[in-house]
Symmetry: C2
Subunit: 331 residues, 2 copies
Amino acid sequence: MNKVILLKNRPEGKPSLKDFEFTEEEKPQPKDGEILLKTKYVSVDPYLRGRMRDEKSYIAPFEVGKPLESGIIAEVVESKNKNFNKGEYVNGMLPWKQFQTSNGTGLNKVDGEKAPLKAYLGILGLTGITAYLGLKKIGKPEKGETLLVSAAAGAVGSIVGQIGKIKGCHVVGIAGSEEKIDRIQEKFGFDAAINYKTTSNMKKAIAEACPDGVDVYFDNVGGEILDAALANMNKYSRVINCGAISLYNEIKTPTGPRVESTLIKNSILMQGFTVRDFVKDFGPAQRRLAQWMEEDKLNYLETVVEGFENIPQAFIDLFEGKNKGKMIVVV
Amino acid sequence: MNKVILLKNRPEGKPSLKDFEFTEEEKPQPKDGEILLKTKYVSVDPYLRGRMRDEKSYIAPFEVGKPLESGIIAEVVESKNKNFNKGEYVNGMLPWKQFQTSNGTGLNKVDGEKAPLKAYLGILGLTGITAYLGLKKIGKPEKGETLLVSAAAGAVGSIVGQIGKIKGCHVVGIAGSEEKIDRIQEKFGFDAAINYKTTSNMKKAIAEACPDGVDVYFDNVGGEILDAALANMNKYSRVINCGAISLYNEIKTPTGPRVESTLIKNSILMQGFTVRDFVKDFGPAQRRLAQWMEEDKLNYLETVVEGFENIPQAFIDLFEGKNKGKMIVVV
């Protein structure tokens, strides 16, 4: 039989295990032109919380009673498609099933010789590409500028900061534990770090860590940390609104200080960033990231959880900050 | 003697006459290299409210006990500077004085033969240039797109909408009276208009007036109208944060729904726009506006108030929406 994880109901507030349902179905058989895939690595990401809501967004919501899906590395265990051979690995946005068939649409082959397979979900996958293209398309950091990053010990944030250092920026990270702020400075080379959980005045803390103000703010969290960052943004500065994990579990529309007067005062740009808007740039982005990896310019961390049945818990743990870097489930 | 208007104290909330002080000083005499200017037309603009606050912004705050300043057309009544002749008119950011001397720095000559002198404060001045460059630099409206404009009967908004029509957009305006919404449709050629004062659900009203959603929102008001517009913005849409008149008189930091999740969902760009950031584009912008005027493609309205002593009241009246188009004081 084939295990499948369904969305049981749309969470109110923070997701919990009762929002997921495990079920079994017949193991599928590939038809002519199809391949049989065995799920190997599953990416769990904060943005999936948005797809659990019944609202229009850049990507369709999950349906109740249907499988969830995310970035998955799967092995081709049987092939009736001339473009794929048994034993190859592919990367794609796939449902949370142990086995599934595919005609190959939307799948990219990945080469475990060139980099660890898991890296194609992280630093060489949407995670790394998000960091790279968010900075390149919106942030446009220049040498000598100050780059501020929230969720800086996280999968995307830790790469953003390292790219900032490659670009010659003064890089400051915000994270939620002493261990994390040590890590982003020691392992990822940030110039300074702020523990928001022990800092009562974030606006002042950012001002101190960024004596020349903030030129680029890569925001993964939204909410009050964004407010504090905006209060420190320089003339002509740029905010990449990449994520808003602090708001994902809110039930009512969150409120906060209005931004429009601040944007006008300093000619600030704020722009929502979704990596899927830039599919045509994925190839060059991945090559650049791979090159930096080869040159030992990029470090990354993974938190690897074992077992297909632990996918929902791994996802839930993201909202507690339990991951170190990229959270991946190995099946 | 020479009348001067000083900032008496920084207003709390809405400005009132008691925030201004009239004084007199000796009429100045031009030295060698200087000219004597007689104030002729004075522009009063909502953004001046920001300069009355003691806070850092794109332009230094007014000082208490010193003259206010704004865009002024003045006549050269005496010249000891070879670059200026008696009887010429100049345009510049000048203090609220009946007479003043200048060495010519920052002044541009204006030609009353080519266009009415007042037009250089309005459609051919910062007002028209703001509309033109805000759209060109941030909004980038394309043929067939929907352009929404707030304060649409105002000096900037009415020009924005007309440029939108020249560009082939579906143009919808928001204003605060039946007279204004008639005017923007009949005189300025907007496709539709919404009276926010008689509309209980702005989000729905915008959705109805913009059946294909909003691609470009030129915002002069901020606050709840911005919230309603954001709820209707399309994927890849652009918000020009040009003004926030609804917030200028707030004493506490205004709050509202957080925007970050909305920006992410639809990859929306919001950017603060200050026309002074684009000084090098003023010449081409003014020539383009003048050309459209000659081709009868741009209408504009002015509210002209008489008397130097009425400058403060004309400014205060802006916040009551008493102006039709550009508010100008003739001295």
